[in-house]
Symmetry: C2
Subunit: 296 residues, 2 copies
């Protein structure tokens, strides 16, 4: 049921020494104990991890994989315990999640300036996750794009973003300045329904290889320019809202302070620059448009 970290540690020792006797010595336990524990471990997992003869000990494929995973698990546990002990000593910590393309560093700097005692972690949120990290406690606040489920969340709208179509430079439409949804009517659209992509890079690769076009938020086009892609604003696609979100029900505290600070920094409507670098800004860079070649 629960992975036994002690047995995992024993297994790692055997995997590294490729020898039960010496591994046992390094672990300060007797060799037969180690033999039994590893056998029990294999039984619990339902998988052979080692091919042993009296002359050699070799890892199976599953064993190799487990050995690789052991490092990750150990790191996760060590980091977790470290942070728990910090919390126990009274040190405060704030985890700020953000979707790809949304910049939070500015807000974090403003926050840490006023709260030097609070460590801030940034957590880039995978394309597929929206509000889940907030609900699971993996982030205390997050900078997200709509749509997401905001029940039980306190949200502060920050701005609105329109979308751009991402096309290969070789695409017939690549020479245009802007598009409408009608222009894209016959195109294969890469979205979560048609093709599951685990990362933005992967999606861009699919576009670059001619497997379809993608609709992406404008802010992403500023951070992910590529020579083989062009971004064209889609004028009639409804803009999506971006906002800060945090679980409801927390009173005053670091989370509320962060929301206040970040709102002031990211949404200076009261003062300076606009959140959506709109009309004056000569539309998304479209850096390589000069490269456009017809047909393919």
């Amino acid at each position: 049921m629960d992975l036994d970290l002690r047995k995992l540690r024993y297994f790692v020792a055997v995997a590294e020494h490729r020898h039960f006797g010496r591994a046992a010595e390094a672990l300060f336990i007797a060799q037969p104990v180690l033999s039994r524990q590893i056998r029990a471990f294999e039984r619990e997992l339902g998988l052979p991890l080692l091919n042993r003869t009296t002359r050699s000990v070799e890892l199976t494929a599953a064993g190799r994989q487990l050995y690789e995973e052991a490092g990750r698990i150990g790191g996760a546990v060590d980091g977790a315990l470290h942070r728990v002990r910090e919390a126990g000593r009274g040190e405060r910590r704030l985890v700020v999640g953000f979707s790809a393309g949304l910049h939070v560093a500015e807000a974090i700097r403003a926050f840490t300036a006023s709260h030097p005692g609070i460590a801030v972690d940034v957590l880039p949120l995978p394309w597929t996750e929206r509000d889940a990290p907030l609900r699971e406690g993996r982030a205390h606040v997050a900078f997200l794009r709509h749509p997401f489920d905001d029940t039980g969340l306190r949200t502060v709208p920050i701005g609105r973003e329109s979308k751009a179509a991402c096309l290969p430079v070789t695409h017939p439409l690549a020479g245009r300045d802007a598009l409408t949804l009608a222009d894209l009517d016959g195109e294969p659209l890469l979205d979560a329904r048609s093709r599951r992509t685990s990362s933005l890079d992967e999606k861009f690769e699919l576009v670059a290889s001619g497997q379809g076009v993608a609709l992406v938020p404008l802010s992403i086009t500023r951070s992910y320019a590529r020579p083989d892609l062009v971004y064209l604003p889609v004028t009639d696609f409804p803009p999506v809202a971006t906002c800060l979100a945090a679980p409801e029900g927390h009173g005053p505290g670091p989370v509320a302070d962060f929301l206040a600070t970040a709102t002031a920094v990211l949404r200076p409507d009261g003062g300076g620059r606009a959140p959506e670098p709109d009309p004056p800004r000569p539309a998304p860079p479209v850096p390589e448009r000069a490269n456009a070649r017809p047909g393919r």
Copy 2:
């Protein structure tokens, strides 16, 4: 010594129910057992996790942190076991690491086309890590920038990159076409020695806020365009080599196949690739120079 995942699971139940009796019921164990286990867990960790009275159970700061960490740990363990079982069923997996700005998706697509049975994971490598993930088994091959320690690694040079200086658009030098190291002589340089940055975004934020200038590989300037930064090639900075690397000593197998495929795809000079038939790949774009505006 080893974190006890069973006790952690028990703790999570109590944290969620905020009630020993009901948590025990949910765990299908008796309430006194749960009380004892949680007390033992707190003793092992050396930290109180819960403030209990007969009327209420509340998490301490350490308890809240541990509850958050529990999700991460559980996820890491579940994912690991899933991949180990896959490996046990004979499914092959290849983890490809890459430093920021280096694109591997093209090579991965070529590889998966010829090896459809092998799942490929991409592992973006943090700025601070170089060869470590290869040595720790967290990646099987990696696409890295020199310098790194290549002892015990098989490396295939892929290309060379010069560097660009990253400046705020407001900087007096921002209007130039290119720079030399002498131009940057009086500038505060943000490198690993002067200021520890945990991410590229953080470094860019520091540059944007005027705290210094950064030297970054050219390929990064193509992927991380920002309206408030300009990238200027530094003509006399020695170019750094990029290469594929994998641990030595593996015979033929997926890793060797990937190296071969990726070399052919990423280094077309060696002879073979067709996919991108435009030879005059128009030298690294330095995309944002046209955006340079004085003042703000």
